[in-house]
């Protein structure tokens, strides 16, 4: 046997060149440009046209919008390109390269990440220019969330590419993933306006967690508990799909996965089921009954039906309310006011829920006869006014008054040093509604006291 000099292989340099080549070829494809950029812009315009009940526009829907863009790029764009190349024989040629499949796949996935990232950036800029939607309040977290969501969906895309024999099959499999998430997964239709069964079903789908994470980037504070679960859910679903996708990857269009494909689908779905069951077992799939969309649609006529003649006075035994502070509060009240701004109980991202929980704080202090009960109620009112503009706060308070049994409330708030008792929920809800009326009356000029 003759000895032969083995050529030195440069896998990382090659993968980098593959990344650049994929980007260049993508930019030369009219079809890729339409699906990669024009369609996301159309979705942006569609969302901007439909969700018009809030200020600023789309601030609460960007999570959904970006999820759709990522889902489209990762579960349609990437596998379509991959399978089309495999069908043509491009990957058969790639296979002659002296590197393993993950090296080549790295270039493909990195290029898709860049393509999706640029589409998302385009949406953010256009949303700002066209609708005044602010950029994410937490850009670092938003970037991490984007990477996590894209990675999970690219994992699904890999599995779709492995299972699909041709491009039409990619479309069919992609729709099987896309449509349920759009319709009942909290991605296309906001989760809060879905029926309870659909909200439970959504907790089995990665779209829900993607929206949660991406929307968190737009909120002033983060909810670590929910975020951890959302990251974990996406990791479980994404890693399961990616592992199967890599194992079943085919270089040649002539090879088929056969029955192994069904087993792979079953294994991948078991990750979804595990996530959903955990969400249900831990109460994370509890339906959100109040909805931003619903409160935003309240009319002036509906708000005008609310009566204020049953309210106790501000200095009476129940629902006491201090007059506006003539100077900044100090001591415990000041600390509590500062605390409220970052209190996780009022940072769920749902304005109605957050408001109901803040009202609950005033109600707990009131029921517990806290020495600062009147001041605490005033602090809560000030916090609400600071958070929401007059129009939005009016509708939120009116919604809570008109739907006293909706959503959740708090009955204890030890982290705010409101330690006294754990009164029955119905009492807290009743007092919360009374405070809501006192605040709303001031908002709409039906109560003249300051």
């Amino acid at each position: 046997m003759g000895g032969i000099a083995v050529t030195k292989v440069r896998p990382i340099h090659g993968a980098w060149c593959h990344f650049l080549l994929t980007l260049r070829l993508n930019l030369r494809s009219r079809q890729a440009l339409v699906y990669g950029y024009a369609v996301p812009v159309l979705f942006l315009l569609g969302f901007g046209g439909v969700f018009r009940g809030e200020t600023p526009l789309l601030a609460n829907e960007m999570g959904q919008l970006l999820t759709i863009t990522i889902l489209g790029g990762a579960c349609f764009g990437m596998p379509t390109a991959l399978v089309a190349e495999r069908e043509r024989g491009v990957w058969r040629r790639y296979r002659l390269l002296p590197v393993t499949m993950p090296v080549l796949m790295a270039g493909t996935l990195a290029a898709r990440l860049a393509i999706i990232g640029s589409a998302v950036a385009l949406q953010l800029v256009l949303a700002r220019l066209l609708f005044g939607t602010p950029p994410p309040a937490q850009p670092v977290f938003a970037s991490i969330a984007f990477l996590a969501v894209t990675a999970a969906f690219l994992g699904l895309g890999l599995l779709i590419a492995a299972l699909a024999d041709d491009v039409p099959a990619v479309q069919a499999l992609g729709q099987c993933v896309f449509l349920p998430m759009i319709l009942i997964g909290g991605v296309g239709v906001p989760l809060a306006i879905l029926p309870a069964w659909a909200q439970h079903a959504a907790s089995f789908m990665p779209g829900r967690y993607a929206v949660e994470l991406l929307q968190q980037g737009y909120r002033p504070s983060l909810d670590p508990g929910n975020l951890r679960f959302a990251f974990l859910a996406l990791a479980v679903i994404g890693v399961a799909a990616a592992t199967l996708g890599v194992r079943l990857f085919r270089w040649d269009s002539g090879r088929h996965v056969g029955h192994t494909g069904l087993v792979a689908v079953a294994v991948a779905l078991s990750a979804w089921i595990a996530v959903g069951c955990t969400a249900m077992a831990t109460g994370r799939s509890a339906p959100l009954r109040s909805s931003e969309t619903n409160y935003a649609q309240l009319s002036d006529v509906e708000i005008g039906t609310i009566r204020y003649d049953d309210l106790p006075g501000d200095n009476e035994l129940a629902t006491r309310l201090a007059p506006p502070f003539s100077h900044s509060p100090s001591g415990r009240v000041a600390a509590l006011a500062a605390w409220l701004k970052t209190w996780p109980g009022a940072a769920t991202g749902e304005p109605v829920e957050d408001t109901r929980h803040l009202l609950g704080v005033a109600a707990i202090a009131d029921v517990g006869a806290d020495v600062n009960e009147a001041e605490i109620a005033r602090v809560v009112y000030d916090e609400l006014q600071a958070r929401y503009d007059r129009g939005q706060l009016t509708k939120i308070l009116a919604w809570i008054i008109l739907h006293p049994d909706d959503g959740t409330t708090v009955t204890i708030a030890p982290e705010l040093e409101l330690r006294r008792g754990a009164p029955p929920e119905e009492v807290i809800r009743e007092r919360s509604v009374l405070y809501a009326k006192k605040f709303l009356g001031r908002q709409v000029g039906r109560i003249t006291a300051p």
Binding site: M1, G2, G3, I4, A5, V6, T7, K8, V9, R10, P11, H13, G14, W16, C17, H18, L21, R24, L25, R28, S29, E85, R88, G89, V90, R92, R93, R95, L96, L97, P98, V99, T100, W251, D252
Partner: protein, 310 residues
């Protein structure tokens, strides 16, 4: 240019697809700087053999060594030594030949060779146009150039001139021969027996998943049972019974105005034929000698007809 001898050694290669046994123990060796051709009908196992050598298919058993590397145990290392052109492999529609060469070279750090390859393989005029606009010949030149992009010691070519017009086939053959002259070892499969005869130093005939014979085209032809055939055209028809009695004549017959003579000894037949023509005052108009070809050898060795001759 590789300066170390290169050899491919394949031993007892077995590969099945379900119940179909594609390869039933294939053995061959490609010597340094030679062109070795695998011949066989469709389904004989040529492409499967090449794909196993290239690491594209996992054989059920057997061994493949390229140089000192066990290609089954270290496929990536083996691929680094081999350049290849495959049937059914293609490129993206919008990639240009220059980009393709630079991309594939990037895994070996040999991007700087792309311009030289573009010139050597005659694709300068189309180096910067989209792949989809290239003609069949230009594409095949590009694929050949891609096979040489990292200056490999061994090149595997699957039907490199298939479907091309005669002029381009000739050009590609000379490109392959030119590369062999620089020390590259070439393993190729071909359907074209005349191409194999002209291009290959040695050939192996695959039949039903087995390599039934290997040797130089001349050796295989010599092994053929066929004899040279003379086609003799004369002014007056020849007397077949007289021809049949001539020394060195194995068989004779007539086709139209031409007499067909199968010669076991060509020298004796020609000499006797000359004497006979003189003696009978006949005039020779034309004489052609058809020597046995590789196709004849293939038919004899496999007991069947070559598809290309149908």
């Amino acid at each position: 240019m590789p300066d170390t001898p290169a050899t491919v050694l394949v031993r007892d290669l077995v590969k099945s697809y379900g119940n179909v046994r594609a390869l039933r123990g294939v053995d061959f060796e490609v010597r340094p700087a030679e062109i070795f051709g695998l011949l066989g009908r469709n389904g004989a196992g040529k492409t499967t053999t090449l794909e196993c050598v290239l690491g594209l298919r996992r054989p059920d058993s057997g061994s493949i060594r390229i140089g000192d590397v066990d290609a089954r145990a270290q496929p990536e290392r083996a691929k680094a030594m081999v350049g290849a052109q495959l049937q059914g492999a293609t490129l993206q529609d919008r990639i240009t030949p220059r980009q393709a060469l630079r991309f594939f070279a990037s895994f070996h750090g040999t991007e700087s060779r792309s311009s030289e390859l573009i010139e050597r393989f005659g694709i300068t005029a189309c180096a910067d146009v989209a792949f989809t606009t290239l003609s069949g010949g230009q594409r095949q030149r590009l694929f050949l150039a891609l096979a040489f992009v990292h200056d490999p010691a061994v090149v595997v070519l699957d039907e490199p001139t298939s479907g091309l017009d005669p002029q381009i086939r000739r050009e590609l053959r000379s490109l392959i021969a030119e590369r062999r002259a620089t020390g590259v070892t070439v393993l190729l499969s071909t359907h074209d027996l005349s191409e194999a005869e002209q291009l290959c130093d040695r050939v192996g005939i695959l039949h039903d998943g087995r390599l039934v014979v290997t040797g130089s085209p001349e050796e295989l032809i010599r092994r053929s049972a066929r004899t040279p055939r003379l086609r003799v055209e004369t002014r007056d028809p020849l007397d077949l019974s007289a021809v049949a009695r001539m020394p060195g004549v194995a068989h004779c017959g007539s086709e139209g105005g031409t007499t067909r003579v199968d010669a076991s000894d060509l020298n004796h037949v020609i000499a006797a034929l000359g004497e006979h023509l003189t003696a009978t005052a006949n005039v020779l108009i034309d004489l052609r000698i058809d020597r046995p070809s590789l196709e004849d050898a293939f038919v004899d060795l496999t007991g069947g007809q070559w598809e290309g001759s149908r």
